[in-house]
Amino acid sequence: MPRVIVTAYACTPVGELWEHSIQSLGARAVRAALNDVDPRTIDFLLVGNMLSAGICRQENLAAAIAERAGIAGIQALKVEAACAGGGAALKVGHSLVASGECSRVVVLGVEKMTDAAGSESTDALALACDHEHEAMHGMTFAGIASLLTSMYCEEAGCDPEKLGLASVVAHRRASGNPNAMFRNRITQNDWQMSPTVATSLRVLDCAPICDGAAAVVLEPENVFDLRIRGAAELVAVEGATDCLSLSQRTDPIDLPAARESFRRACGKARVNTESIDVFELHDAFPVTLALSFEALGLASRCEGWKIFEQWESDGGNEASLGFYSQTMGGLKARGHPIGATGIYQLIDVLMQMDGTAGQNQIPRPRLGACQIFGGAAANVFTSIVRRIND
């Protein structure tokens, strides 16, 4: 099986992109990623997205974007796994190339959340909850995060205020990322003053409603042109699932799908946790990031929150931790355009490997891991990325 190489990437800034529709946004990222590549050489377009129907009233999305991007005629498919759509689309793309089926695949993640206002967005996001056990009783995603935060803080014996540090650090990093939605730094006091959304959860704990489109091009090694910038190997993409509803889980503050997806990906890639230099994890809320660290073995149970304190006390220098994480602001501050986020995470890692991360540049990593959750880690995909060029 050939190695799968990421030969190009492009993304729009994340933000409230009022003047774009989901079609124009997706097409823009695809065209930018393709650049001067002959569109007739594309075998497949995969589109990671969650809410094209729920908010934009558009299904048949892949065909619509293929047309707008000027590559109508190719095979195209929308991939849905709630917020993990981007990661899931990478899994499908990786499989198509690794199997020899395709020699050039475009994997796009796109989301246009701002076409809805207020409660419409909340209702749409609740589609990722278990409808029968949760959503139909009024549960929202902020509600789930609130429950998890309360349970976590109680067992870990920590104050929700400690979790707020994650947002402070996220904004600090995003201030150096030109593609980030939030370029403003915030203080612990700003966090304290932000309105309460639900118990133990403040506005500044929550990833934003936003728009974005990000695309990568995947090719097998044997047709890879060494001159192409940004080349890295997408070594493995592996997924795992768990119960959708918190009410069905035996231990809500443990994320077995995150742990298993990571284990499978490392197994396929034949790497261990210690060899991974940079992680881009699912920080839609501080509690999901703390639980991610624990699921990946980067912290013990109920100790993940201490990493935020270490970030803060180190002044952002993470060398003492042994790994880097959320280098470009993460879901909280770079932004979380749902189905596109998995691709943004990959691009964050690619930029670090490229040396093009600007103010946020870390020592160029050799290995990176991206992990994205669908819902409350009900469907998780982990990608392992390896730098090729030195």
Partner: protein
């Protein structure tokens, strides 16, 4: 790719000239604000940490946009310095509102009758959301300037509508303002020509037969309010060869307490120039009356000769920018007209009032 909606400044079609004022002046301003208040935090859904006092005005069970318009108009007439401006001289009356009691029956006609004006008065209603009053003002000023009309009255009045529990509800207030314009009749304020900027938008609208308006959330910010006000103001500055530094005060539409300061910063006004004009924290957003109540408040505190940059905004959407300049008579005929007794309602009282008015 940029999410900034501000377009390139349009080239003015007329050559630049120093800011000129019309011969037509504001003769008086009268405002009416209902005497009931409710603290906004009682109406707000989310719990905000910052609990500075914010109130909004609440119309009584027997009040509506028309009753408030009559009250404001009578106050404006009573304030006229030159009696000759009243009575039969007043031959143009326009009323702006987005909460008319009748979808088809003009408030202006009732006002003509209530004020005892001649039946030969030109009268009509206008609507452009919160901007209707300034559009009526700029247009009627020209009818007086041309000599076609002698004295005009413009009334801006609204009972601000919002869906119950909507994010607008904490600031949706009620008030009316009436402005009298004329030439050579001891005016309190000079007026400039205005610049308008209009585009087709759906940031806030109410369909015929729909009880409550639809509000497009964050879309009402950058692409709506800021885009239109900034474009109108920038063109006004360019045409008149003026800049924010040339003005003593700035008054703009106030959908909330933060937008005016952001607009001021964007245009280059210091925040201090808004100091006298903020009304939203005490009476709420009173839609088309907001700008005029704010202008009245500013005039009641400014000195003769001071200039005020006025910027309105109406959803749907459009903005006007114009300048006014206080004369030596300014303090004699403008005031805030706050009721002498304010009744602070509980949330239950607020609901009962609304129920008796027949809403909610």
């Amino acid at each position: 790719m940029s999410s900034n909606c501000t377009a390139a400044l349009l080239k003015p079609t007329s050559p630049a000239f120093a800011m000129e004022f019309l011969e037509t002046e504001i003769l008086s301003i009268g405002t009416y604000v209902p005497d009931c208040r409710i603290a906004s935090h009682l109406v707000r859904k989310t719990v905000a940490v910052d609990e500075r006092p914010r109130n909004k005005s609440v119309p009584g069970f027997d009040e509506d946009a028309l009753t408030m318009a009559v009250a404001a108009a009578k106050t404006a007439v009573s304030r006229l310095i030159d009696e000759n401006a009243a009575g039969e001289q007043l031959d143009l009356l326009w009323c702006a509102s987005e909460s008319k009691p009748y979808a088809a029956k003009p408030m202006a006609a009732t006002l003509v009758a209530a004020l005892g004006l001649s039946r030969y008065t030109s009268a009509a209603d206008l609507e452009f959301a919160c901007r209707g009053g300034t559009e009526a003002f700029l247009a009627s000023a020209q009818r007086v300037e041309s000599g076609e009309k002698r004295v005009a009255m413009v009334v801006a009045t609204d009972v601000a509508q919002s869906r119950p529990d909507d994010e607008l509800e904490p600031v949706a207030g009620a008030a009316a303002a009436a402005i009298v314009l004329g030439k050579g009749l001891q005016g309190i304020c000079r007026i400039s020509k205005g610049v308008s900027y209009v585009s087709d938008m759906h940031d806030f609208f109410r369909r015929d037969g729909q009880e409550y308006p639809t509000h497009a959330g964050r879309f009402t910010g950058e692409p709506a309010y800021f885009h239109h006000t900034a474009l109108a103001a920038e063109r006004f500055f360019a045409i008149n060869s003026v800049s924010p530094a040339d003005f003593d005060h700035m008054v703009c539409h106030q959908p909330n307490e933060s937008f005016p300061f952001k607009l001021a910063e964007r245009l280059g006004f210091s925040g201090g120039k808004l100091k006298h004009s903020m009304v939203v924290n005490s009476i709420g957003n009173v839609y088309s009356a907001t700008l005029w109540v704010a202008i009245a408040k500013t005039l009641s505190q400014c000195k003769p000769g001071e200039t005020i940059c006025c910027i309105s905004y109406g959803s749907g959407a459009g903005a006007d920018c114009f300048a006014i300049k206080a004369t030596e008579r300014v303090r004699r005929a403008a005031g805030r007209d706050l009721p002498s007794i304010e009744h602070t309602l509980s949330y239950g009282g607020y609901l009962r009032m609304a129920a008796r008015r027949g809403v909610r």
